[in-house]
């Protein structure tokens, strides 16, 4: 896979999964299990990955994910995002506050044979919690 093909894969993944929320199509883009480096590097079944997306979609039904830039080299693609949304469902144990947030997120994906096999993820959880007024 070329660097351009890898970038295309990540762009499509973002559009289909993050924007259109077609969670049943996650497996077209990600290997099952995904090596999720933020879950202590253990292989994460895609069902759990999907549940995590679904949690965000249900906590923030109007969630918008905007791609700020995509940077790629060799087998890695970095996708930097701005997330905005209104807190209308339970989030990290906190009841809906009705407040809105805007926060940054960034993902590094490693792509092997046309699928995302490994992910490093960072979301400004602290910023989200502060803006929603969640104390603990």
């Amino acid at each position: 896979m070329s660097v351009d093909a890898n970038k295309m894969l990540v762009s499509e993944f973002h559009q289909v999964v993050m924007v259109e929320r077609r969670l049943d199509e996650v497996a077209q883009f990600m290997r099952d299990p995904l090596l999720d480096r933020d879950s202590k590097g253990v292989p994460e079944p895609l069902d759990r990955v999907k549940r995590s997306f679904a949690m965000y979609f249900s906590a923030f039904p109007d969630l918008q994910s905007k791609v700020e830039d995509i940077t790629a080299e060799a087998d890695k693609v970095v996708c930097r995002l701005t997330l905005t949304g209104t807190h209308q469902g339970e989030f990290m144990g906190a009841a809906p506050t009705g407040k809105s947030f805007s926060a940054s997120a960034i993902h590094i994906f490693r792509i092997v044979d046309g699928k995302i096999t490994e992910r490093w993820e960072w979301v400004d959880r602290m910023g989200i919690r502060n803006q929603l007024g969640i104390q603990n």
Binding site: V3, S52, M55, D69, T71, A72, E73, A74, K76, V77, V78, R80, F91, M92, A103, S104, A105, I106, I108, W120, W122, V123, D124, R125, M126, G127, I128, N130, Q135, N136
Partner: protein, 146 residues
């Protein structure tokens, strides 16, 4: 200029500025109108002089503080770094007295270079919640779902 030189300059920033605390190197690497876009801990810093003050503050709090670059991804005018920061809390930090403990956090930082090969902008994304918990600035909690 070029992608490889940009990567070398990011490496120099972490080795010489953050690791060794030599803030004079910042003038070689960054333009004066440099802007840092951060997160909840340091949301915005404008100007390379302010970065020098910030680095001095962190080095006072964590004299052995240093960064290990785990990965770099670069294309065009962007260099993304995946890093681990580690330091021993021996001086006051954000109003908190030293704990003597080793603090560490992971981060993903995105650097943008101008056409003269200097860093003009950075988006620094650090997993600050564990650190703030270690400092007692936010309550201990289980992290997940994000």
């Amino acid at each position: 200029m070029g992608i490889e030189l940009n990567k070398q300059n990011v490496q120099r920033f972490y080795d010489e500025v953050i690791g060794m605390g030599d803030v004079s190197v910042i003038d070689d690497l960054m333009c004066s109108e440099f802007v840092h876009h951060g997160d909840a801990l340091f949301p915005y810093i404008g100007g390379s002089e302010a970065i020098k003050q910030g680095v001095k503050g962190v080095k006072t709090a964590y004299p052995d503080g240093h960064t290990v670059i785990e990965d770099m991804v670069a294309e065009g005018d962007i260099v993304v770094v995946r890093l681990t920061w580690r330091g021993t809390h021996l001086g006051p930090f954000m109003g908190k007295e030293p704990t003597g403990k080793v603090h560490k956090w992971a981060g993903l930082s995105t650097y943008r270079f101008n056409n003269e090969g200097k860093i003009i902008e950075r988006w620094a994304n650090q997993d600050v919640m564990p650190q703030l918990m270690a400092l007692g600035m936010i309550p201990e909690m289980k992290l997940g779902g994000g």
